[in-house]
């Protein structure tokens, strides 16, 4: 579904991604882990062009995202993204946050968008918060709304950029449970995370990135029990 070939990204002289090639299958759940500064988030942000790759190609369902002629907005609609700091629209209610893009971008009717939003809110366990403003929500609730907002666009792929890093510990679980539910429903997902236990349980594949390179790509069992590289072994030693 997603094909990445020789992807590089440099910020000025700082080479952040040094040639990453991989492919993600439909319904695959990928957990990206690695030390900070290894390029995980940058890799994720390249996948919906929040960062423009310096070189290399990204193809999604045969459409080449990195081709300047591609209709980027259209491809982006198929890729949802959930951010570390949620980025809910503070001046809109929860319901408006969720229905905004379906109505304004997809042209959905207000009624349909609202019905969908209520359904999604029920799914993330926040049916009672539809009319609240984001400032009234806890971090965990905000992140669940953000997930619902992404889902409202009915994406084929969901990208999570450290979705629980900004949360108080007691709220991590509620968010991870929602993501786990999505994984079970067959959504294709790439998740940058520091939650090793979650990665181990929920992911189909672990990507270990270090210094801008995809160092290991393995099943959770293999990766966590028998890391192939010395760097991965050292990393796991530190975090587990």
């Amino acid at each position: 579904m997603i094909n990445v070939t020789n992807l590089t990204k440099a910020f000025g002289k700082n080479q952040v991604l040094k040639g990453i090639s991989t492919q993600v299958d439909k319904g695959e759940v990928v957990a990206l882990i690695g030390p900070s500064g290894s390029g995980k988030s940058t890799f994720l942000r390249c996948l919906n062009l929040l960062e423009t790759p310096t070189s290399g190609t990204i193809t999604i369902d045969g459409m080449e995202l990195t081709n300047p002629k591609s209709d980027v907005a259209r491809i982006r609609q198929r890729i949802g993204m959930v951010f570390q700091h949620f980025h809910l629209f503070p001046h809109m209610t929860v319901l408006d946050n969720i229905t905004f893009a379906p109505i304004e971008v997809k042209g959905m009717t207000v009624e349909a968008a609202r019905a969908k939003a209520h359904e999604l809110l029920a799914r993330v366990g926040l049916s009672d918060k539809a009319d609240s403003y984001p400032s009234r929500l806890s971090g965990g609730q905000k992140q669940r709304v953000a997930i619902a907002r992404s889902l409202a666009m009915e994406p084929d792929i969901l990208l999570f950029d450290e979705p629980t890093s900004a949360l108080d510990p007691e709220m991590v679980k509620e968010v991870l449970n929602v993501i786990r539910g999505l994984a079970d429903s067959g959504m294709t997902m790439l998740i940058v995370t520091h939650e090793m236990k979650f990665a181990r349980e929920a992911a189909d594949t672990i990507y270990f990135l270090d210094d801008g390179k995809l160092v290991e790509r393995a099943t959770p069992e293999l990766f966590f029990n028998q890391p192939q590289s010395e760097r991965a072994a050292r990393f796991l030693e530190q975090v587990l």
């Binding site: 907005a73 980025h87 809109m92 905004f100 971008v105």
Partner: protein, 494 residues
């Protein structure tokens, strides 16, 4: 509810367009009064420029319909009727009269304007129609009767008046030039100047309105040039006018008009309270005239604020667009409009537009344009700051959802930026409201100019000023409380 907001944007655009139109159609300056309303359209029209703050020559009939009346007006009407023209009167600031002649906004100027060598360089004068006597005005308790006594004293005159030139010849006197007769009165009353030189007709009125002052006529001299009608250099009218003027001199019609306006007025009603020398009774009858200025001031402020907001927003978008030519344009624009005086911009727009675009821009429209364009330069920086202050993540979230740029700016970024910049916006609008008094220069009869007319008509300095100050203050209070309501609404999501 979503669609409603879009409709609100449309509606406000329509309102803005409507306001612009109403600015265009609102009567420029003082309502021009037609001398011969019923005449057929084949009659050619002559526009007379005048500064109606100099009774009895010309003043605004503020107690009735706000028309411009006075001796000059009557003489002009008589000449126009003699020559078969239809007369239209356009009121403006005295300092703008010559410019109005040179840009053909008016056909001739009659405004108690004296013939000077300086003015002769730019305009053509008719024969003089009246020669005024120079008069010394001073306080009763420290009166000066002769020019000789003024040696070593501080003497006030009205800038650009013939008395201004005359006073320069007084030996040993120090001069202080002021813009308005009402200013002279105030300086005299407060003792900042020892005496003032004005012309006889003005002096009589001054004494009548200010019982603490006294006057003394200066003997006439040969060099007095008197008042004349000014024309553009290339005019063909001057000979016709001179002929009509001569005829009026011979048949006594001119003297009749002069007598009508200069006749002794009863010096009764002189019992004014001495406390602070303020007596609001002098405004009796003038208040409705001043109050009507609120509409003009508000209309003007609203249009310039909206124009400034819309254009400023576009400029701020240019600045953050990342497109070089647009950025360059917006930066240069801001630099120029912030770097030159607003008064200069206003004057240029008003006087240059007819020559550049062959469009006779109404004063109020020119004023709204100048203030809007100027305000946009300041607001573009404010708005840019507000946009930059919105968390970068908001933009990313919108992009990730596939929201197009325009929609993202309008629906996601601006509403949040607005919250940050609202206090600064209110400051700007309050400033616009008060600075609107500047536009009286090109003859827009807003609050301040109306106050000036009334000051001129009453020969009193403080009362009208205090009244408009109070009006401005109330307007600003209303504006700020509206802004507070808006702010509360924007903050409901906190």
């Amino acid at each position: 509810m979503k669609r409603n907001r879009i409709r609100i944007v449309h509606v406000s655009l329509i309102i803005f367009a409507f306001l612009l139109l109403s600015l265009g159609s609102a009567t420029p300056g003082t309502p021009a009064n037609m001398a011969y309303a019923a005449s057929e359209p084949t009659v050619k029209k002559l526009v007379m420029g005048t500064s109606p703050d100099y009774p009895p020559y010309e003043s605004v009939d503020a107690k009735s319909n706000g028309d411009i009346v006075g001796m000059d007006v009557d003489i002009a009407k008589a000449i126009a009727s003699e020559l078969g023209y239809q007369l239209e009167i356009s009121g403006m600031d005295f300092n703008g009269l010559i410019a109005a002649l040179q840009t053909n906004r008016v056909d001739f100027v009659m405004s108690g304007m004296s013939v000077t060598e300086e003015r002769k360089k730019s305009v053509t004068f008719s024969d003089s129609y009246y020669t005024a006597r120079n008069t010394i005005i001073s306080q009763k308790k420290k009166a000066y009767d002769t020019v000789e006594q003024l040696a070593g004293k501080l003497v006030g005159t009205q800038l650009g008046s013939i008395q201004d030139q005359y006073a320069a010849t007084i030996e040993g006197a120090k001069l202080k030039k002021l813009n308005k007769i009402a200013d002279l009165i105030q300086e005299l009353n407060s003792g900042r100047i020892d005496a003032a030189i004005v012309e006889d007709a003005v002096a009589v009125e001054m004494i009548r309105a200010n019982p603490d002052l006294t006057m003394s006529f200066v003997p006439a001299t040969e060099e007095d040039n008197g008042y004349a009608i000014a024309f553009p250099k290339q005019t063909k009218l001057v000979d016709d006018f001179n002929r009509a003027l001569n005829q009026m001199k011979e048949n006594g019609e001119l003297q009749n008009i002069i007598d009508k306006w200069f006749e002794e007025k009863d010096a009764g009603e002189n019992e004014r309270s001495a406390f602070l020398n303020i007596d609001f009774r002098v405004l009796d009858g003038y208040v409705p005239y001043i109050l009507k200025g609120i509409y003009v001031t508000l209309l003007f402020t609203l249009v310039s604020a909206l124009l400034g907001l819309i254009w400023g927003t576009i400029l701020s978008l240019f600045k953050i667009s990342g497109i070089r030519p647009l950025q360059w344009f917006a930066t240069a624009y801001t630099s120029i409009f912030r770097g030159t005086p607003l008064l200069v911009q206003l004057t240029l727009i008003y006087y240059a537009t007819p020559q550049l675009f062959d469009f006779d821009i109404p004063a109020l429209l020119a004023a709204g344009l100048a203030f809007g364009l100027n305000s946009a330069a300041y607001l573009s920086e404010t708005i840019r700051g507000g946009i930059m202050a919105v968390d970068k993540g908001q933009r990313e979230a919108a992009i990730a959802l596939g929201v197009p740029y325009r929609k993202m700016m309008v629906r996601i970024i601006f509403p949040q930026a607005l919250r940050h910049i609202l206090p600064a916006l209110v400051n700007e609008f309050v400033a616009l409201l008060k600075e609107s008094s500047l536009v009286s220069v090109i003859g827009v009869t807003e609050l301040m100019r109306r106050a000036d007319f009334v000051r001129a008509s009453t020969f009193r300095s403080f009362e009208a000023l205090l009244l408009v100050a109070a009006i401005y203050y109330v307007l600003v209070l209303i504006l700020t409380s509206l802004a507070r309501m808006l702010e509360r609404r924007l903050r409901r999501s906190d």
